[in-house]
Symmetry: C2
Subunit: 579 residues, 2 copies
């Protein structure tokens, strides 16, 4: 940390987040105290503030978060920092074309996380020579020694095999470290790694290299350890540290003008999958700004993220089949407002990166997720490919916005709104082709539902989204032929949900509500609606997928799992019979 902060890294203590500054990510976030100490020593804040560590009124939290003005992303869930560093380095090399470098400090314990190896593969594939990873091989995990102990040669061989320019160094030898960092900075077309052999609690008598000191304060031992450490200082007097200035060669970026270059242009009798509408929207956004980018994990021909390549292939980043790194790279790319990034894969495969997405909220990330192939309506590929828990996932993210467009027009606008909305946004898209419901000039708002069928004699309110909204429309026709009017509501966003429209429309429909969703019941639209309605005069019937589904044709599965027009009609008729 001393070598990095006071010899290697180029930054300005007055502008820690400057666009041209070198970046540092402490992936082993539990080592937060040394990071805070480094910034204090550099002069960002008084060293006495370090004593506020972990206090309720201090931003010097147990693990770093961007509440601090020198932190890009939250860390503390292990193994995530390197993917984010890859995203930053990719932007630095290919978009900013600037000289800043990205340093990521990884613990040896956390290097067992697969996400680290996804990131290493990505870094060498894209020749991120502006990236330098340091592995702190201190041998000790939280509860016992790590699986590789102090075998630095194994680390060397693995990093080397993953395409890194690798150095094994004594992590306590500042001269060796300095030399390796210098060589790394001068190595072209390969990312670099320092395997730093260290001893936890080095020079702490009775503590060095011992287990059971993880995360513990010294307590009484401070009285002997601190004087001993001081006695080892070669220059005990106050030292003035210097910080290397950076070259300000990253371009200014303006993300405020991102919009659909042309409005949606569908014909009323078109049948268009929302996943395809996502691709169309991407094209239009990408035309409005070359800082709109799409990332995918080898599903781009299914999610239609590949459409962005028609505008400019450079606005697409292929992340291969490694969803954790996919999300991390997206987070790094979007960090400090360098890009507006859209990350796509099958909706269900975002479960692979739930931890990264969760940390994205803590990191105050502005990142857009697009999940295709939701629900049983994908058909024959079977349950492993069906997103049936993705709404539960994305709804649980603090501050998230969850779009579930039901036609191509609203999908294009959802994507445009997502691009311009802070925080984690999720757009749920569907595989089947469905009718266009809205005129091309229709305006959509976050948290604003649309009533698509209504009369003054409605017997029930049907709430659906995506394919189930279209099933609701079929049910509307069937019920109408039986002499019953029903109201059909498209929530557009599931979070925030339009409480007012739902309560008002439910009341106008006799308090009879049917919620129907291509999702498991838990954490889905039904529960969101249940929580929004003050129950006094309203009864809700919940239609959702209630077991692990199987392979089959989409329309057969939709009825088999009770979320089709027939099931909706039955639910409404139960209300009518009761009244």
């Amino acid at each position: 940390m001393a070598v990095l902060f006071f010899e290697v890294m180029k930054y300005d203590i007055k502008q820690p987040l400057h666009k041209s500054s070198d970046r540092f990510i402490l992936s082993k976030g539990h080592a937060a105290p040394i990071l805070y100490a480094a910034w204090a020593e550099a002069g960002l804040f008084p060293t006495k503030d370090l004593l506020n560590l972990r206090k309720i009124d201090s931003d010097l939290e147990g693990h770093p978060t961007p509440r601090l003005n020198f932190i890009d992303v939250g860390t503390g869930s292990l193994g995530q920092g390197l993917s984010i560093g890859c995203g930053m380095a990719y932007v630095g090399k290919y978009y900013d074309k600037a000289s800043y470098r990205v340093y990521v400090l990884v613990g040896d314990g956390e290097s067992a996380e697969g996400s680290i190896w996804e990131a290493l593969n990505f870094a060498s594939k894209y020749k991120l020579d502006n990236l330098c990873v340091i592995i702190d091989v201190n041998r000790l995990g939280q509860s016992e020694a790590t699986s590789l102990d102090h075998n630095v040669d194994v680390y060397y061989n693995r990093l080397n095999a993953f395409g890194f320019n690798t150095y094994v160094v004594d992590g306590h030898d500042t001269v060796e470290l300095s030399k390796a960092f210098h060589e790394a900075a001068n190595t072209k077309d390969k990312p670099s790694a320092l395997v730093a052999k260290t001893y936890k609690g080095k020079n702490f008598p009775g503590i060095e290299d011992e287990v059971n000191w993880h995360g513990k304060p010294l307590g009484d031992k401070a009285a002997t350890v601190i004087p001993y450490l001081k006695s080892l200082l070669k220059n005990p007097g106050p030292t003035k540290v210097t910080v290397q200035p950076f070259k300000d060669d990253a371009p200014a970026v303006d993300l405020s003008k991102v919009h659909l270059s042309k409005p949606p242009s569908y014909k009323p009798d078109d049948k268009v999958a929302t996943r395809l509408a996502y691709g169309n929207a991407l094209i239009k956004l990408a035309k409005s700004s070359d800082r709109v980018i799409a990332l995918d994990g080898d599903t781009k021909n299914s999610t239609y993220s590949e459409k962005i390549k028609m505008v400019n292939p450079k606005q697409y980043i292929e992340c291969y089949i490694a969803e954790q790194n996919l999300v991390g790279v997206g987070m790094g790319a979007a960090c400090r407002d360098r890009t507006i990034a859209f990350v796509s894969t099958f909706a269900t495969f975002f479960t692979r990166a739930f931890d990264q997405i969760r940390m994205g909220a803590i990191s105050q990330s502005n990142l857009n997720f697009v999940g295709s192939h939701c629900g049983v309506s994908i058909g024959e590929d079977g349950p492993s490919q069906m997103g049936l828990e993705d709404l539960a996932l994305f709804r649980s993210i603090p501050g998230s916005t969850v779009f579930y467009p039901s036609d191509a027009v609203s999908c294009e606008r959802a994507v445009e709104l997502a691009a311009n909305t802070k925080g984690i946004c999720f757009v749920r898209t569907s595989r089947p082709n469905t009718s266009v419901l809205y005129p091309n000039d229709k305006t959509f708002h976050i948290g604003k539902a649309n009533v698509v069928r209504q009369s003054s004699t409605d017997k029930a309110l049907i709430i659906g989204a995506g394919v189930t909204l279209h099933e609701g429309l079929k049910a509307y026709d069937i019920l109408k032929s039986k002499g019953y009017n029903v109201r059909v509501l498209d929530p557009f966003t599931i979070k925030p949900l339009d409480y007012k429209a739902i309560e008002e429309n439910a009341a106008q429909c006799g308090g009879n509500v049917v919620v129907v969703e291509d999702h498991y019941p838990e954490g889905g639209i039904g529960e969101a609606v249940a929580r929004c309605i003050n129950h006094k005069n309203i009864t809700i019937k919940y239609l959702a997928v209630r077991e692990v589904p199987r392979s089959g044709p989409p329309d057969v599965l939709i009825e088999k799992y009770g979320i089709g027009a027939k099931a909706i009609v039955d639910a409404v008729l139960q209300f009518v019979d009761l009244s």
Copy 2:
């Protein structure tokens, strides 16, 4: 597949799941047709049945699931099969001490998944010489070439660095394959890997090694391809395949007697964290059967899973900081009822393995998860370590059982019930020490709530669990001192939720319900309660954590985020004021 099924693997076509049979996992589940074809060719079912692929009334689904009697685990979400194979191989080597071997076929595309590298590290660490992984390097992903293309040397170097006995072979050369499998089977103390260079659509004219044929049927091309392939057959006549018999040396296992060896034994004034009670329960279960095992990811001294080592260190598997592999190994270990496995880490880190847990349900796994350190009540470590979405995660798993014990007695019984319950079970434990609420001889049931405070004049029903149940009890005392009686309900299981008890008690409390949880609102207890209540005279107030929390003392955070006694009292008083 031909070499494996008809020359290498030892199995009995009449008993595909036999305890002593070699195991085969098709990690690249999308190649299901070749797996089905192999079993049909071996004689398990008529080859004409293969034409039912992906039909609604056939179990030959788009990706393999255990609905088929020859499938151990569902695959189709990529990169998961190897961890499961590791779990099986670990059991085979260390518990069964049997001669069966485990084969896992991995796609080159999916080898970009970090979970593969977690599993490789695990396999070599534990010297799983009964494990053989085959990487099918066919060069082509779904949407483009893989990141490593046909560079088999890179695969070789990486596998070698990860401690594997590795062979590069021509995947179309049966003699080469056969030789490598033979050598692998005779290599001690190291797992083996075959890097098989293949061509997708080998010998299919105009298709071999071409992109854009992923997952597509031949269509018209069948008319030329099939006759051409037939013309290449050296022995075109019907061939009788032979299957190698296995040695039946795996022991029979009886998991039906697993129970707490002694009942809970807490004193009424004890204050015990439920995470510690989990450790105590593990000890007692482990004493009842040596097939009860615990797995953890270097948090065993926090979750208290390490307690099982006091019974027998061999009943613990350290999986290091690699939660995806941790879950996969647990799934493999529990497969075919070889063990009762408990997988533990901080509740929030199960988000890292959501995809594996989701696939666990598809795989019909019987696996127990224990997540400690839930909610803001962990305190100073901050938001990255707080489980605030774990209920949403586990509730969304089809067929899951979600326990949320509120004291040490009920926690021990929850763990015992989990051990004896099919499907995915989750036990949510807490960090703080809390009072013992129940007598040691109390019986608990899944789906059965307990009312812990009540009178005939209750003004509101408070529903809480874990720390918030104890906050509810504090609120009870405060309200009582103000002259108001309230009822307090402990749900015990959040899924299934005791609908009957909640509805009845809510009605008896004037329809005034306060749900309070150390969790985000989405997918948590509040929404579960909202969905369970479906009559017209009940109003619910939801107290939950509504933003990303920060570091601080537990009791301060509990009040700051509105889930403490004060907030509960306020919510109840609003009801009282309204009435």
